[in-house]
């Protein structure tokens, strides 16, 4: 056995032991642990935010505080009363009783963009479901992710959680990660991160809850309150310098509203790039060979990106706006950029807006999130039906809206399922409810129609489906 395998074996043995001990815990004990983790993580929200920003150079620490609050307080409030142990529902009429069981050891991949909040979130939901969790930090954010994990683990232990219910290592090799993800005793991979990592999780042969890439269109429909819409977009796209995968990537506005929207954007700190500068920003924002955003600009400020691109922008610029006339590889900024850079399209009407949003949605953002600002209920529904998006956020900042719990009642989450469009199993905001196995105790109940139906009729080929259905449902 190689040294690598030895370390993986030890981690898994400890995780299995923790899972065994956890199986004895009742709801009250479990909830006490989750509460302790929430309180400890909340208390450390500022320290962890500063540490994450300092270590990665990504985002804004004040905004990372909000992310840590979402991951601790908001997630706690969402799952506090959720039944995750023993009988969780009982229906005397159907005779079906549901019993929650833990899934088992979870391997959690943590992204560099949210290195402490995602750790807090995943530990909270794993422990709520009585599952041990193994944290795999991003190499560029290992210190802050591990600090967050330690804080959570120590709090859990003080509340009598099983030893080793949270484990981590700063330096998993790719080979070790692969071994862990495919280990026979691992139950599930919670994969939040880049496409390659999520694909590796899905290739492990283990169940995986992953995420997809986003490319969020924000459509300002003609009935929208333009000032309200622009304020929401600015609050979202500049939040933590645009690191949220549900942040807006393009503004689509009808010509009738375009001037007002542009004026309001400029008033709020957006800078519209002249065509020559669009090309310069493209050159630093995306790798021309892979068409993937360049890590050097992820989570950086508009001023930093402008300087990197060699362009001058007014003081106080918070967002770079790139007017574009198409979608696809020939228009690099029509792709996802996790930074305060956003595409701008003017369209003539609702139909043209729908077509364009669909193109953007299908250009690397299938299944993720779409955003609309409108006061026309029918158009909101028409737009939502058109999009392939797990979340269609209405009249809200898309980042804060999609992650839930802030300006709507979606479950707060740092793992946003993108459905089959994003190669995921669900479009849900992942939470503790996804980390339990639900057993169903199905008691015998009579089926009146079947009891009095002559089963021999099924052998008569002359009887077609409607004829059988008539007889089966007679007097019912």
């Amino acid at each position: 056995m190689s040294m690598t395998t030895e370390r993986v074996a030890q981690v898994m043995a400890k995780a299995k032991a923790a899972a065994g001990i956890f199986s004895q815990f009742d709801q009250e004990q479990t909830d006490r642990i989750v509460k302790a983790v929430y309180e400890a993580a909340f208390a450390a929200r500022v320290t962890l935010a500063k540490q994450a920003q300092a270590e990665t150079g990504i985002g804004i620490w004040e905004h990372k505080v909000i992310k840590n609050v979402l991951a601790s307080q908001f997630v706690y409030e969402d799952i506090r009363d959720l039944k995750t142990v023993g009988v969780i529902s009982d229906d005397p009429r159907t005779g079906v009783t549901e019993i929650a069981q833990p899934v088992g050891p979870i391997f959690a991949i943590i992204p560099t963009t949210n290195p402490t909040s995602t750790v807090i979130f995943k530990i909270m939901i794993a422990l709520k479901a009585r599952n041990p969790i193994i944290i795999s930090p991003h190499p560029r954010a290992a210190k802050s992710s591990i600090e967050a994990a330690k804080i959570c683990y120590l709090a859990a232990c003080r509340a009598d959680a099983p030893d080793d219910c949270v484990q981590w290592a700063p330096d998993w090799t790719r080979d070790e990660m692969s071994q862990l993800m495919s280990h026979p005793d691992l139950a599930l991979v919670l994969a939040t991160g880049g496409g390659a990592m999520v694909k590796a999780a899905y290739s492990s042969g283990k169940p995986a809850l992953g995420v997809g890439a986003g490319n969020v269109p924000a459509y300002i429909e003609k009935s929208a309150d333009v000032v309200h819409a622009v304020t929401a977009i600015m609050a979202s796209k500049t939040f933590d310098n645009g690191t949220v995968c549900a942040s807006e990537q393009a503004i689509i506005v009808e010509k009738s509203n375009a001037a007002a929207a542009r004026r309001e954007l400029e008033q709020q700190g957006a800078y519209f790039l002249p065509p020559a500068d669009v090309a310069r920003v493209e050159a630093v924002a995306l790798d021309p060979a892979t068409h993937v955003m360049h890590p050097a600009i992820v989570g950086k400020s508009a001023a930093f990106i402008a300087e990197l691109a060699g362009i001058s922008v007014p003081d106080g610029t918070r967002l770079l706006v790139a007017p574009l006339h198409g979608v696809g590889r020939e228009h690099p900024l029509s792709a996802e950029v996790l930074a305060p850079v956003i595409a701008w399209y003017e369209v003539k009407d609702f139909a043209a807006a729908g077509s364009l949003c669909l193109e953007l949605n299908f250009f690397g953002g299938m299944g993720h999130t779409a955003s609309i600002h409108s006061n026309d209920r029918e158009r909101i529904l028409a737009f939502a039906t058109l999009m392939n998006a797990g979340r269609v956020v209405v009249n809200s900042p898309s980042s804060q809206g999609a992650v839930g719990g802030i300006c709507n009642f979606l479950p707060p989450s740092f793992t946003l399922g993108c459905g089959t469009g994003g190669n995921n199993i669900t479009t849900d905001n992942i939470s503790a409810r996804h980390l339990i196995n639900i057993q169903r105790v199905a008691r015998r109940r009579g089926n009146e129609r079947l009891d009095r139906f002559d089963m021999n009729l099924l052998y008569d080929e002359k009887l077609d489906a409607p004829a059988i259905a008539r007889l089966y449902n007679k007097n019912y």
């Binding site: 043995a13 299995k16 032991a17 923790a18 899972a19 065994g20 001990i21 199986s23 004895q24 088992g104 009598d160 099983p162 030893d163 080793d164 005793d185």
Partner: protein, 98 residues
């Protein structure tokens, strides 16, 4: 509270109640002391009176088995719920649990 008796060639450590970390600290000292004089004996942890075990008890089982050799150590009288702990942790394959 653990009660330790010797029957034939077996040292029987009969545990009772809830074996959480705090409770086990005292028991562990008593068991360790007795194991020093266990030469030639088989050691049995009797869990008939136990409703809960903590991680530290699993460690005590593993360290005892390591010290004596797996053939001279067994866990007996575990409730189905406690057996499930050994099954989930995979220790039922390393230890004799009945």
């Amino acid at each position: 509270m653990v009660t330790i008796t010797v029957q034939d060639q077996e040292i029987i450590c009969a545990f009772a109640g809830r074996l959480d970390t705090m409770a086990l600290m005292k028991d562990e000292m008593a068991v360790s002391g007795r194991l020093e004089q266990a030469a030639g004996h088989r050691v049995v942890f009797d869990l008939a009176g136990v409703g809960f075990i903590a991680s530290s008890f699993l460690r005590l089982c593993l360290s005892t088995a390591k010290k004596l050799g797996a053939g001279r150590f067994a866990v007996r009288g575990a409730s189905p719920e406690i057996k499930k702990v050994f099954a989930i942790s995979g220790l039922d394959k390393q230890l004799t649990v009945t």
